[in-house]
């Protein structure tokens, strides 16, 4: 992780970890977190309904 460049001259993709494996790992984690949040929301929703039924 961290800077993929040593100089700004001629830099192209300069986002953290560009060219390495960390962007791919973080992408996978963000996909998992995004859909896990939906699943978590579904579970808390069902619990709220059960508490009031």
């Amino acid at each position: 992780m961290g800077s993929p460049i040593e100089t700004w001259d001629g830099a192209a993709a300069y986002f953290t970890g560009a060219g390495g494996s960390s962007p791919g790992i973080l992408l996978a984690i963000s996909v998992i977190v995004c859909f896990a949040a939906i699943a978590y929301g579904a579970l808390t929703e069902e619990k709220a309904y059960k508490d009031h039924l």
Binding site: A12, A13, A42, H52
Partner: protein, 443 residues
Amino acid sequence: MAEAVTQEAAIAALQEGLKWSTTINLEVFYWWCTALMFIIHAGFLAYEMGASRKKNVLASGIKNILAFAFMIPTFFFFGWWIYLASPAGFPDLSADTGGAPWSETMGPNLTDNATGIFWAAFALFAATTASIFSGAVIERIKLSGFVILAILLGSVVWILGASWAWHGEGWLLTKFGWHDFGAAGCVHMVAAFFALGVLINLGPRIGKFNADGSANEIVPHNVPMAVFGLMVLIVGFFGFLGGCIIYNGTSQWTSIFGNPVTLSAVAFNTLMCFSGGIIGGWITTRDPFWMMSGALAGIFAAASGLDVYWPPLAFLLGIGGGVIAPIAAKWLEKLGIDDAVGAVAVHGFAGTFGVVAFGLFASGYPNGDYPDTNLTGQVIGAATMLLLGFIPGYGASYVLKMFNLLRIPEKVEILGMDFVEVPIVAYPEGMDSNGKGVLAPAE
């Protein structure tokens, strides 16, 4: 000799400066369009919360906010790739069409000042489709089921439609000469008919219909907030319509379909159809909710040709949209559809009217190598957008319903979603009004 070298260097410097000026201006233009489009969501938030009953106000707001929140990452994960990969039909897996989330242009990149800004503008369009759908289903849809449907609509279905119908090489343009400057088809029709498909499976709110099929009006708890929200939404629309035009830098603006256009043209026609829509809604209902919904319907009724219409034509089409929307809403209600905010009528029916009207009034415009604009192309495109929205909306909501992920339990609906699902109270000091007003002695 030295003078020639100096002149050459000066010309090169000017050319470099012009190139940078063009690049930065492009970024700045779409940046502010994107920022303005956030106002659409402020408008939708006020509109949907106002349209809810008090017991569901915050749940409606949460739903709207969450749709936006989940739209952005999913549009990054796969939505933008679908747009770039699918103009010929379904995504082309054989070529590197761009937009894959691991691509070097899908993040800060000094050789690319465009991808992020276009991704952002389209992500806001995606969020708009989810917001259109969101209003129709308030007060009885499960939050998790709604989020899944919103992601499907915003990051898959509409963007596939955009690849077909709002792309310089989309097949509706290349094969049929389709034209839809303001995305009445791929945004408004797709979102509205997706909502219709969901509404059929979701069912009406408790108390909406009587045993004999007659409808009751479920009154918004805050009409001023709903009406104000609709006006705020219109402000945001200037960002949306700005995002519909292509900045070419050193030559005339063009539409996404490649024809030359000016912002002046769009300014004339947007204001005219907006006004017509309000007037049409007022004539038909006298109801401020339908006057402002009419403003929207008026814009959709002229959206396809905002770049080419004679302004009085845009005005008349706007009136048509403002008249059609409340009539369509009543008709849908007679069919047993409970669309809480008239989304299907405003976006779907007025959008369809607009798309077809373009074929009636604006046929024959040249499209370069592709067929000239024509009525047949508009009808084919309208049918495509309708089915593209309806089939996934109906199918996905049917599956969610099978797994009990679509509708909240009846007791929760009666108690109120805020009481059951939301940890805070919307109006802790109450918000009752007996409508009598308060008189105080003059001083």
